[in-house]
Symmetry: C2
Subunit: 249 residues, 2 copies
């Protein structure tokens, strides 16, 4: 307990140093997942020039709000975010979760304001890509433009799958599908596919899957009883991936 307090300043120092150092794309660990993929070294230097590496965001802090002017796309550098849209009466839907290397704000490109709200789920940081600059650069670097198009298409594809989940799947199929999708994304990022942190709350998960919190809670308990997972607070281990896959439908 005393130890935690002692290292906090150290962590802050590291964050500050990292920020001052302004890590460039070439050296970034997300290189293989992120926008630069397929760009030449010279192009990267140009891309680096327009990227703003922002200060961090605390848990619960808003990256952008519904109807804010659309200025920039964001790429998660560390941590995680959720985006939500809301009905006129205030009901909200968690539309997506975003992890390192993923783009936030792509659905705003066709408007001049954001169509959703983005909030950090933990201490997080992002790279900011002012869209106008990105477009200017894109007109010189077709490969960049293609990368961007590919990104939006990929998110579109994911959203269609989520429509299948929301429209046709039962509660246990929903949760199983969700957990495996998280697992895959962590694996792609070089983390364990079997054990990871659920940085979002139960109610975020429930909302995203079109379920009630209580249902999600009961499902976690049942999955645990059936030996599918081991869960303790926010830490989850997938103990029977086979069976989990069979559950997805």
């Amino acid at each position: 307990m005393v130890g935690t307090k002692d290292i906090k300043p150290l962590i802050d120092d590291i964050a500050r140093l990292e920020h001052e150092h302004q890590l460039e794309c070439q050296d970034c660990s997300l290189y293989r997942l992120c926008l630069p993929l397929g760009l030449h070294r010279d192009d990267l230097v140009q891309l680096d020039k327009i990227i703003k590496r922002s200060q961090g965001y605390d848990k619960g802090q808003t990256l952008f709000n519904l109807k804010d002017d659309f200025i920039s796309l964001y790429v998660v550098r560390s941590g995680s975010f959720k985006t939500t849209i809301s009905a006129s009466d205030g009901r909200e839907q968690v539309t997506s979760f975003y992890f390192p290397g993923e783009f936030i704000g792509l659905d705003a490109i066709h408007m001049d304001s954001y169509q959703s709200k983005a909030v950090a789920l933990e201490s997080s940081s992002v790279c900011e890509l002012p869209f106008d600059n990105l477009q200017d650069l894109g007109s010189e670097l077709p490969r960049l433009q293609v990368q961007l198009l590919t990104r939006v298409s990929k998110e579109l594809s994911g959203d269609k799958s989520l429509m299948l989940l929301l429209g046709k799947k039962t509660s246990d199929e929903k949760l199983a599908t969700y957990l495996l999708s998280l697992s895959k994304r962590f694996k792609d990022r070089g983390f364990s596919a079997k054990e990871f942190q659920l940085t979002m709350s139960r109610s975020d998960i429930a909302n995203h899957l079109g379920l009630a919190v209580e249902t999600v809670s009961r499902l976690f308990s049942r999955f645990q009883d059936n030996g599918l997972i081991a869960i303790k607070g926010k830490t989850i281990s997938l103990t029977d991936v086979e069976k989990m896959q069979a559950l997805c439908g």
Copy 2:
């Protein structure tokens, strides 16, 4: 009854003539809704060169199938289409309906095969845009590339709204939202916003909204009883748009 048979050959003739004439983008009535928007006249000529104006598709005919090689994007020229994705056990979700000027296949850009199946809902025709050619041209015409990006972003945005609908709305809110969305799209295309044809079946609508056919049928009846709509087979009139909007949530 005899009359219908007599004019059928005439209609076919017109379709054939239209096809042979190979109507160009400049002259197309969809000009203001379609890809050419914002392109210069010279650019349009180039775009026209890569567009294949295909034969028509009959009701129920497949434009492309899941896992077909991704070669082209398609723009609806006349008629309408639906796209579906399916779970491993065969359950299907109708992900979108497409009307003239709208793009089909955008979710395949990030893969080398289509992620969904597209089927004509009535006699329809499309413009085919071979994606490789489109990209070659795009690298010379940044405005074209931006148009394309904008299109995908717009579809993304619509899908997020549908997630809100599927996850959070009640059955009557779902149907009301859907009918008004159709109404707006018809209006944008210069058709009546109040009276139009539901080219898709009740079961397509139900599936798309995450409901059972019976529920949709009952809702249509109730909406009619409440003076919101008048419906006869596939023809619907919105008789109280105000009240309908209030129902959307």
